[in-house]
């Protein structure tokens, strides 16, 4: 039950020794409590209570007007055995995650890597690469659905000009709409790229010099130095990518609104939750969907965590031991 002490106090206060002004060095408990209070209030009312509440609601039928009615596991039964939209949304989400997460990581490494190459002018390129990630999602999506429109968007004209005979119809074609979204995501790679760039600049120069002396080729030094040194960043982007892709909403919602996505090719997990909760007002069912989402996200994160020992290389010890 010893009082926690300030580091400063601990360093020169000993039992019985002539004490410096102790009053000032005490832990200011009231101050700590006051400082934390906005966060505490927030976590109680906007996180803890809602989590408990939505967990309870996931076992109820609840339409916002009548009070929740307990239905046991009905919501989950309905989800897995009766709700085709659930499976459609889940399939779409898994499909786009499986393609876009590795693609995004590869593209981020590539763009960051080419940025480290030139001796001069790299900051201009960095600005240009980063810029699209700042564009509001709604504006970016509207722009993409417009310029990728096969009838009046110029992108397909440019594709034809470089020799692609029959460019896809992008957002208008259920087979290609997700690729449109993937391109939209790759366009906004900037923030991920900056994290990779920081990682690349952190790799000690001496390693590359040693490799050059040993006669390693450019590819070899990339494969055996750069890549292993980047595994923590790759790991981090993998985890945040999985978490993010199950919450992927705005771009898909706006794009499907623009093009009348009748075949639901851009209907994702988060869209399904939104429609269940705020269009059908099935709050209980939507809560159940949200909890399944949490479980899926946790499982995916756990799997990545479990495999990290095999491929993630930490020069200074692990962040998640």
């Amino acid at each position: 039950m010893s009082l926690p002490r300030l580091r400063a106090a601990a360093s020169f206060t000993k039992k019985g020794a002539a004490a410096p002004p102790r009053k000032k060095l005490k832990v200011p408990r009231l101050f700590i409590f006051l400082c934390l209070s906005p966060w505490l209030f927030g976590i109680i009312f906007f996180t803890a209570y809602p989590m408990v509440s939505s967990f309870y609601q996931s076992f109820t039928k609840f339409n916002l007007i009548e009070s929740p009615k307990w239905v046991g596991l009905d919501n989950f039964h309905r989800m897995f055995f009766e709700d085709d939209d659930f499976w459609k949304a889940l399939k779409n989400t898994i499909w786009i995650s499986a393609i876009s997460i590795p693609l995004r990581i590869t593209f981020a490494i590539f763009t960051a890597w080419v940025l480290t190459k030139p001796k001069r002018g790299s900051s201009i390129y960095r600005t240009i690469f980063f810029l699209p990630s700042m564009v509001p999602a709604v504006a970016g999506t509207m722009a993409f659905t417009y310029i990728f429109n096969p009838a009046y968007g110029p992108v397909n004209k440019l594709l034809e000009a470089i020799g692609i005979k029959e460019p896809p119809f992008w957002f208008l074609d259920p087979q290609w709409s997700k690729w449109g979204l993937i391109l939209l995501g790759l366009w906004g790679i900037g923030d991920t790229m900056i994290i990779f760039l920081a990682g690349l600049l952190d790799v000690p120069k001496s390693l590359y010099e040693a490799a050059e002396l040993e006669g390693a080729s450019g590819w070899q030094s990339f494969r055996y130095i750069t890549l292993p040194m980047m595994t923590p960043v790759i790991f981090f982007s993998g985890v945040t990518g999985v978490i993010g892709s199950f919450q992927y909403f705005t771009q898909a919602y706006v794009a499907s609104g623009q093009v009348n996505d009748y075949s639901h090719s851009m209907y994702f997990y988060a869209t399904h939750i939104y429609f269940s909760a705020f269009k059908a007002y099935e709050m209980g069912y939507a809560s159940a969907l949200a909890w399944v989402l949490l479980v899926i996200t946790l499982l995916c994160t756990l799997v990545i965590l479990k495999t990290q020992k095999r491929w993630v290389h930490y020069p200074n010890g692990s962040l998640f031991k």
Binding site: A8, P21, L25, M142, P154, F278
Partner: protein, 297 residues
């Protein structure tokens, strides 16, 4: 071993002599190669923005012909968008939500970050772990009960659900600030405390000024977060057209009457403009901020 070493040295010597001869030429080739890859990539990144701007300056007929250059330039589009739709009102609404939200986030996130990094107390580590885990929590899990709370308070539709939560600190901002505060040497605090400085004064007068870069970063992220937000307004203000933000308004554009479809691009360009201007003035803050939140914990 020495024979091997001397052979090796001779070999390296030979190599470096060769290298020196072709060094200039090689460097030049490398430079050309690097810059052409970078220019090609830049063109791809810029292309969508370029197309938005040129289409926004075309008339309706031309905008649907896949043209790459406005003929004639219809600068009038940028005036018309303000009269055809309540664009000014949307902008002011968005600005209001973003500014108040930013103030809320900064004011409420600095103190928790301060006590989590500059003071030693029981439960500090646990608190920090809780904050980290809430960062990972999908918003969908808490969304519905929070919506119900706001609807019971009769706050829907209004701006309150969009701005009030920002006054209860954001986990991300606390995390970013804490990373920065931790890097400030302890000696500064010790000296101030011995001089009898109160903890509050120490935070406001000494640590906050030192942490300006981190505070500007969280302010920027908070501002952009609200400026770009679509889901929050979709839940809370969509029912009242007077409260619409730019994102909601723009998304509804197609269904609105008296609007040419190409003006969608005019509106998009205007929606992007502030963000891009802010970016050019604060690039350094941004990039440092993003880097600070990366794995370099």
């Amino acid at each position: 071993m020495s024979i091997y070493a001397s052979e090796k040295l001779a070999e390296i010597d030979e190599q470096s002599r060769k290298a020196r001869r072709s060094k200039k030429w090689n460097n030049f080739l490398h430079m050309v190669g690097n810059h052409s890859v970078l220019i090609a990539l830049s063109a791809i990144f810029i292309l969508p923005l370029y197309l938005v701007i040129v289409i926004s300056l075309m008339n309706k007929g031309q905008a649907e012909t896949r043209s790459l250059w406005p003929h004639p330039f219809v600068w009038h589009n940028y005036l018309e968008v303000f009269t055809a739709v309540p664009f000014l009102k949307w902008t002011l609404n968005t600005l209001f939500v973003s500014v108040v939200g930013t103030i809320g986030t900064v004011v409420s996130s600095v103190p928790p970050a301060y006590v989590l990094s500059r003071l030693q107390w029981k439960g500090r580590q646990t608190t920090f772990l809780v904050i980290l885990s809430t960062m990972m929590l999908p918003g969908q899990v808490t969304m519905i009960p929070v919506y119900i709370i706001f609807s019971k308070l009769h706050w829907i539709p209004s701006f309150l659900p969009l701005i009030v939560p920002s006054f209860f600190a954001s986990a991300f901002s606390i995390f970013l600030l804490r990373q920065f505060f931790t890097s400030i040497p302890d000696e500064i605090s010790d000296a101030a405390r011995i001089d009898g400085c109160s903890e509050f004064k120490l935070m406001m007068r000494i640590i906050v000024p030192l942490a300006k870069p981190a505070i500007s970063a969280i302010a920027l992220f908070a501002f952009l977060g609200s400026w770009n937000d679509f889901f929050g307004p979709l839940l809370y203000i969509v029912e009242n057209e007077n409260l619409w933000t730019l994102g909601i308004g723009l998304n509804a554009f197609q269904g609105l009457h008296h609007v040419n479809t190409n003006m969608m691009m005019t509106a998009s360009a205007l929606f992007m403009a502030p963000v891009i201007i802010i970016f050019f003035f604060s690039q350094k803050v941004f990039i440092e901020g993003v880097t600070l939140t990366g794995v370099k914990g």
